[in-house]
Symmetry: C2
Subunit: 439 residues, 2 copies
């Protein structure tokens, strides 16, 4: 390649590949001369004296003692979950993940979303038992210690409440952060015992078709799980991101059903009853049987379908002026791996393919990224994901046509409020402010 051809190719790499300044996803990968100057608005050229670096107070005296259990910087204390019921009144509590303040491919334990219908039980792990009974050859009881002798596996998996993103069904866009709109989904590495090992040891009766799983919390929350899922990739999870499972996520053990509705992933699990029919429990017969516009209801709507949203920028993270930014977000599918994410800056007219952070795990968060040069004018950002099973994230209008929408926020009207997986649109105004819009 001649120097002229090389320069031309590098120029092309910095040319937008879609409307309103979206750049090629590899524009900044080890580009050599390409990057030089491109980001120059975002650094300060120091004077010679600045290179001496003035010593701030923390560079002039010893710092704090290293604690036995690390504590984050006090400057990060605002990075918290938002609580729907902070005084723990006798109703459901929601704690939502602040996706706009995080980065990477999974969620720290302290910030994993929690829905708790009667608070977090304070379980003594030495006294907790897991029983498997019903249509089995021999019922079994496990302690945490005996379970820990079984062969274990680790896997990344997202857990998402079926009601996550419920505000998106509202017929007017609700002005709220990505945390308020999409904060009931999180992703962890879970380590535990494959449920298939335990069921096979119990010996499954030929008539068995379902498992009814029950928690040790005060409501004894229970859900029915098809046996095929229990024998596929279900797990009794004992560790979350390397540590014991958090109290709000089921300490000392939870059922993990990768890719399936959060409520089914029974926390504080104490019983698995093998049956020939579903339990028709409260949560599957009423709460998680979403009503459709025609008056019928989805029953046993298990899968959390392919979905994505942009976390950076997003409402509350205003842009500080025209120039280069990275657009970044999260994609996931209960049907397997994310195969592609496209990003638009012109409300869906043109699209650029995003880079996917590898390795891409099945039924887990995939971070996507695309470089962008904002010219300062109004734009509408969208992301759209595909999964390896060939599913495409729908537009909001497509989803609403099938499911209906709500005149008021779903917290007031109740239904429809579940399994929203359609496109989210962020409008950016001239001043850099980001707003939720329907585009």
């Amino acid at each position: 390649m001649t120097p002229h051809e090389k320069a031309k190719r590098e120029l092309e790499r910095l040319a937008p590949v879609a409307g309103n300044g979206l750049l090629h996803r590899r524009a900044f990968l080890r580009g050599g001369a390409t990057l030089a100057g491109a980001m120059s608005a975002y650094r300060l050229v120091p004077s010679a004296s600045a290179q001496k670096l003035a010593d701030d107070p923390w560079s002039l005296a010893p710092g704090a003692a290293v604690p036995d259990y690390g504590v984050r910087s006090r400057f990060e204390n605002k990075v918290v979950r938002t609580l729907s019921n902070p005084k723990a009144e006798p109703r459901t509590q929601h704690a939502r993940t602040p996706h706009h303040l995080l980065n990477g491919t999974f969620t720290p334990n302290a910030l994993h979303f929690v829905i708790s219908h009667a608070g977090d039980p304070d379980i003594d792990p030495d006294k907790h038992r897991l029983v498997i009974h019903g249509l089995v050859k021999q019922p079994l009881v496990f302690t945490l210690d005996t379970l820990s002798r079984y062969p274990m596996v680790s896997r990344m998996a997202f857990v998402e409440c079926g009601g996550n993103s419920a505000p998106m069904f509202s017929n007017e866009p609700i002005q709220a952060s990505v945390q308020a709109l999409h904060g009931l989904v999180s992703c962890s590495e879970w380590t535990g015992v494959p449920l298939s090992s335990l069921l096979e040891e119990a010996g499954i009766d030929a008539k068995a078709k379902w498992i009814v799983a029950e928690g040790a919390d005060a409501p004894h929350l229970s859900r029915s799980v098809p046996l095929a899922k229990a024998l596929d990739d279900a797990m009794i999870a004992l560790y979350q991101n390397g540590e014991r499972v958090m109290p709000g996520n089921g300490y000392p053990m939870r059922l993990l059903l990768p890719g399936w509705e959060g409520n089914m992933n029974i926390k504080w699990v104490r019983r698995l009853q093998v049956t020939d029919q579903p339990g028709m429990t409260f949560y599957e017969a009423r709460t998680y049987a979403p009503i459709l516009p025609g008056g019928k209801a989805y029953r046993f709507y298990f899968i959390q379908e392919v979905k994505s949203f942009i976390t950076h920028p997003s409402p509350g993270l205003a842009l500080s002026g025209p120039g280069f930014y990275e657009i970044s977000g999260i994609a996931y599918s209960g049907n397997g791996r994310i195969s592609k994410v496209m990003v638009s800056a012109d409300g869906g007219q043109t699209w650029a393919q995003a880079a996917l952070q590898g390795p891409v795990h099945s039924k887990a968060f995939t971070r996507f990224r695309v470089p962008w040069r904002w010219d300062g004018g109004p734009v509408v950002l969208q992301s759209r994901a595909w999964d390896e099973a060939g599913n495409m994230q729908p537009t909001r209008s497509e989803l609403v046509a099938a499911r209906g929408q709500t005149a008021r926020p779903p917290a007031v009207t109740g239904f429809p409020s579940q399994h929203y997986n359609a496109i989210t649109s962020w409008a950016i105004e001239r001043g850099g402010e980001v707003r939720n819009v329907y585009a």
Copy 2:
């Protein structure tokens, strides 16, 4: 396959593949009839009434309020780092990771090892600056905000102190936990800006060969890094396991050099000076230039070489009687991916191949696992790892022949005390107690 052949094959799968009861790594994967009964010592057969499940106190009343920043169970409060200098006296502090109490493939932030030579500085992220200067076309200064506009990447990477496992050089085996022996290594997902992007924008002078990196801590700890590594996979890390980097690990930003000696991964990084020669700083000229038996020293010994150790069982985790267990541990290499881990239960006479938890990341922890049937007699457990570059973990006698050993613990004698990557051996006595031995 006839039923007879199938039964024979399943029996073979439960037959040991190496001495003292090591089983095939896939013996318990979806084995159907194979597992039935194999683990029967580890569950209790309940009476019919036990299936009703007595309600413990936590199942009878609402639990605790869900907090905005999650807190682990009070029953886990003993899972902490051990501190070498808990009163923060004016010398180095070490905080070691409790590998025997964790599981999975990376380390929770609160338990990541820390070595701090003057405590953890309390840095205001809005005032912190990163300067790149020296042999560059234009010196640059970045704030955290301006750095955050650059394209980012995420990757798993271990960080290990060059002095990790120093007690293993002692000429008598020191009786201590895996935390005390190997606790100065941890693994995280790091998210940040490739250093190559920043250096390319600064414009590297043709004479440049090194980077001298300096921290904002009171000692202004500095190390020299070959330019080739800085342009390869080095990163200015802004996030650790999804959250901002922890104070003990460099908040608000650190240099990450995947696979290289921990001390070089400059925490609280504030300066990168591009030079034509190394800085010959204190840590590279004195502390991390290990002296060999002949009196010469290794200089610029960067790579943390292929290594593994068994975490379960390990000293302090006594076995509770004969029967099935999972042997599990951690393997990693600064040269790339782990390609194979072999486990022995007879002190290295015979070996069984361990299962590797996938996906296997380059220069990151790989969890290995192998099922085992302990007959109750004395055994010696060992693990040995290989990496994709073809390197094999050495035996302790091979390493000691090359590097020497210490008559007393290295904390007393000083050298040799670095880059121990040889095999660790755990002896298990008849009672189930686990001890560190040289075998």
